[in-house]
Amino acid sequence: MAEDGYNFAYLDEQTKRMIRRAILKAVAIPGYQVPFGSREMPLPYGWGTGGIQVTASIIGRDDTLKVIDQGADDTVNAVSIRKFFARTAGVGTTERTEDATILQTRHRIPETPLGPGQILVYQVPIPEPLRWLEPREAETRKMHALEEYGVMHVRLYEDIARFGHIATSYDYPVRVNGRYLMRPSPIPKFDNPKMDRSPALQLFGAGREKRIYAIPPHTGVRSLDFDDHPFEVQKWEDVCALCGSGESFLDEIVTDDRGGRMFVCSDTDYCGRRREAGHTGPATRDPEGSGA
């Protein structure tokens, strides 16, 4: 049960209706940024107030919520958002990706594929993909309206000219449904292919800039590239030191103060569940191995 003194999920019903209208419009026009009247939230901007308002507007008593930050369920940010909804909406929470009906995320898409009926809510710091080259809002709106996106490739061109390859590795720009150019928020480009034709509904909330956008289920999402420099995701020489996965996004962690380090899954639920199922990695397999 929700604690007394709060409306269900904190926001008042009128605000939720307003945000739901923005979400419906966003779903109807995949990738299009819909302005909404962002409310003051009991968290500072940068803590996912956009994502929280989206979640608060769609969450019901029967929902089960998972919150991740950089792939982990146990960071301060993820824990405080989860507690916020447990307290204000009394909903169940989970760390298991497939058990969640709503997943709020900052910086990752879970490794476990999402299914129909699930909703992934992204926290977005900067929603406008054209902002780097055009500071004027009126002009970027026009560029979206007229599909003037060619200049976005100027950025990728610069990457290749400077580094020999497209070095942009987070918040990698995409075209949604062959139409709107979209920033996927600072997820690694490793996750971009997961957005494409996902059976889950994907909602994006930017609190400071007061924008909501969406990718409806089964919508095509294409990462920008050049014919002779096709889009590629990050790859690692290593596998996860703990669960041995060679398919997940790996974080490098320092294990001691003598320069010891290892690679582990950034998705803590995925990694833990693999270990529960008996998978091992270099650090867990060999008792004399490093780091164990």
Partner: protein, 275 residues
């Protein structure tokens, strides 16, 4: 000698006129800035391959006219028609906005006096040249880079500096870069506002040579605004002389400069000859 040269130019120029309709025609173009006249009742044509100079003292309305005819400033009254490749003459302020914007970044070029306004200062020389190609759908990095190399070469810049940022280049080089960035989509007309304005005399002379060569090699039409009659004489086939927002005289460049009819043109020319 000089007379022979300009006669040859006049023959070449007059020989062009009957073959094609005008590329651009301005009729009765008038612009008021909140009641203050910027230009009044300006009419002229620009023919394919022709370079038209607009001269006059500071504040005479040259920039206003240039902006009005290049879809950057809607006139208070009057019309501007451009001969589009596919649909023939079209009023540039009546066509759809996507069509107009496409025209502006493919068929047209605009060279600003201040290269900062015409360049993207945050990206390399190569990206500045490649931008228009990418804007119209080029998606092959190698080809874009090759085009950028070719154009650096054509504007006589060091191709080895392709990945350098614009601010690392001198003013003259920035101006060349701006020109290359505009010409890469093979426009049919280029609008230039005092393109050699802030440059040293010797740098200016080399840039003018380059511009003259490019314009004639590519068969470009151009409208060049300048307060400098020497620049106008060197580049333009035909001249408009403006004063207080109005065109007071127009004609072939050599005629206007060698035998000005209007008292203001006479004053303008004599002030150059006897500084």
């Amino acid at each position: 000698m000089a007379v022979l040269q300009c006669n040859a130019l006049q023959l070449r120029y007059t020989g062009m006129m009957p073959e094609a309709p005008p590329l651009l025609s301005a009729r009765g173009v008038t612009k008021y800035y909140e009641g203050i006249p910027g230009c009044r009742n300006v009419s002229f044509e620009v023919w394919p391959g022709e370079v038209l100079g607009i001269v006059g003292e500071s504040g005479s309305g040259k920039t206003t006219v240039l902006n009005c005819i290049s879809a950057r400033l809607e006139p208070t009254s009057g019309t501007v028609e451009y001969a589009t490749r596919h649909d023939g003459p079209a009023d540039i302020y009546r066509m759809s906005e996507p069509a107009r914007r496409l025209l502006m970044r493919t068929d047209w070029g605009f060279v600003h006096q201040n290269p900062r306004e015409g360049l993207r200062m945050g990206v390399s020389a190569g990206a500045n040249i490649g931008e228009r190609l990418m804007a119209v759908g080029a998606r092959h990095y190698g080809n874009i880079r090759q085009a950028a190399t070719d154009w650096l070469d054509k504007v006589e810049m060091d191709t080895g500096r392709m990945d350098d940022l614009p601010f690392t280049f001198s003013g003259g080089m920035q101006q060349r870069l701006q020109i290359a960035r505009n010409l890469v989509t093979a426009p049919r007309i280029v609008f230039m506002d005092e393109p050699t304005g802030g440059l040293d005399v010797s740098v200016q002379a080399r840039l003018l040579d380059l511009l003259r060569g490019l314009v004639s090699d590519l068969g470009l039409a151009a409208v060049i605004v300048t307060h400098d009659l020497a620049v106008a004489r060197l580049l333009s086939h035909r001249l408009l002389v403006m004063r207080r927002g109005e065109v007071v005289e127009s004609g072939l460049t050599d005629q206007v400069l060698d035998d000005p009819q209007h008292p203001y043109s006479q004053l303008l020319v004599s002030s150059v000859i006897h500084p």
